[in-house]
């Protein structure tokens, strides 16, 4: 019985030690351009994120390392044009992939926006499972801006998204 208990504890400790601590990854200066004419209501824009693990993980990267899981920890959105965030009622940030096995996930949103606040912090979904997006070579970040009225020109927003990724 004692030997069995010792083996169990050893296995548990080995399991704990093999789990890597999460690595923070920040995607900055992601520019989402919405080309007019824009309609009152939700208008989408997308950015393709190319995954290069050595660049992403920096000195934490080891040869052969893959990513097991990922969570979004924060999202900041600011206007990248002279219009500011006026006229924007809400934002939704989603992840999408060309992989047929990986479905789109809404990961963060803010509704409504507080007047005069820029940049804004989106509310992150704690239940959103994002690991599959980091197992491929790329994924899309999709920003939906809900506009209060039609607009003939272009709108541009800049996003900073922070993740915790879990390497194998």
């Amino acid at each position: 019985m004692k030997i069995g208990a010792m083996l169990l504890v050893t296995a548990l400790l080995a399991g704990c030690s093999s789990q890597e601590a999460p690595v923070p990854v920040v995607l900055e200066n992601l520019e989402f351009q919405m080309e007019g004419p824009l309609f009152e209501g939700p208008n989408p824009s997308q950015v393709l994120v190319q995954l290069d693990l050595p660049t992403l993980l920096g000195d934490k990267y080891q040869e052969g390392m893959t990513l097991n899981d990922a969570h979004l920890t924060s999202v900041e959105v600011t206007a990248s044009d002279s219009l500011g965030l006026e006229g924007v009622k809400s934002f939704v940030l989603s992840l999408a992939s060309d992989d047929p096995k990986v479905g789109m996930v809404e990961a963060a949103f803010l509704n409504p926006l507080e007047s005069g606040v820029d940049p804004v912090q989106l509310n992150v979904s704690e239940e959103a499972k994002l690991g599959d997006f980091f197992k491929g070579t790329s994924f899309y970040l999709v920003l939906d801006a809900d506009l209060a009225e039609d607009f003939m020109g272009n709108r541009t927003f800049k996003v900073r998204a922070a993740f915790d990724v879990h390497p194998n």
Partner: protein, 157 residues
Amino acid sequence: MKKFLLILSVAVLGLSQVGFEQQADPGDRLLGVWEPSNGRARVKIEKIGAKYYGKIVWLIEPIDPETKLPKTDKNNPDPALKSAPLKGYRMLKDFVYTGKDTWTEGTIYDPLNGSTYSCTIKMKDNNTLDIRGYIGVQALGRTDVWKRLVVQTPAKK
């Protein structure tokens, strides 16, 4: 000889034009604004990467009678998304064109009960879609017929 070369050039250009038009993605015929049979909403289908997605762009009753505010996705099983605006929500996701006027591998979300179903789309003609949502196997599902809308561009201000 010159006349022959001229005719040949025109023929080659004509065939090139046909070839160019045929290279357009046939799956993109799904793009546009569509209305389900109950007429209570309109859905705009767009392309992100290689897949097709549909979001609600109009609701017949956009205001929640209880809150007097724009309707939100209050039945969403994810607590963080319960206050996401319903208008703008992507109820169709991840469709891939698989040929023969059919898009598969997607899902359809029902905001009335917060449930997500597997879904296939079949284009009956350029203005008519059969949207079939199901659980498990297609035989255990329901088909709704959607019609294409023509969208007016906003007036200049």
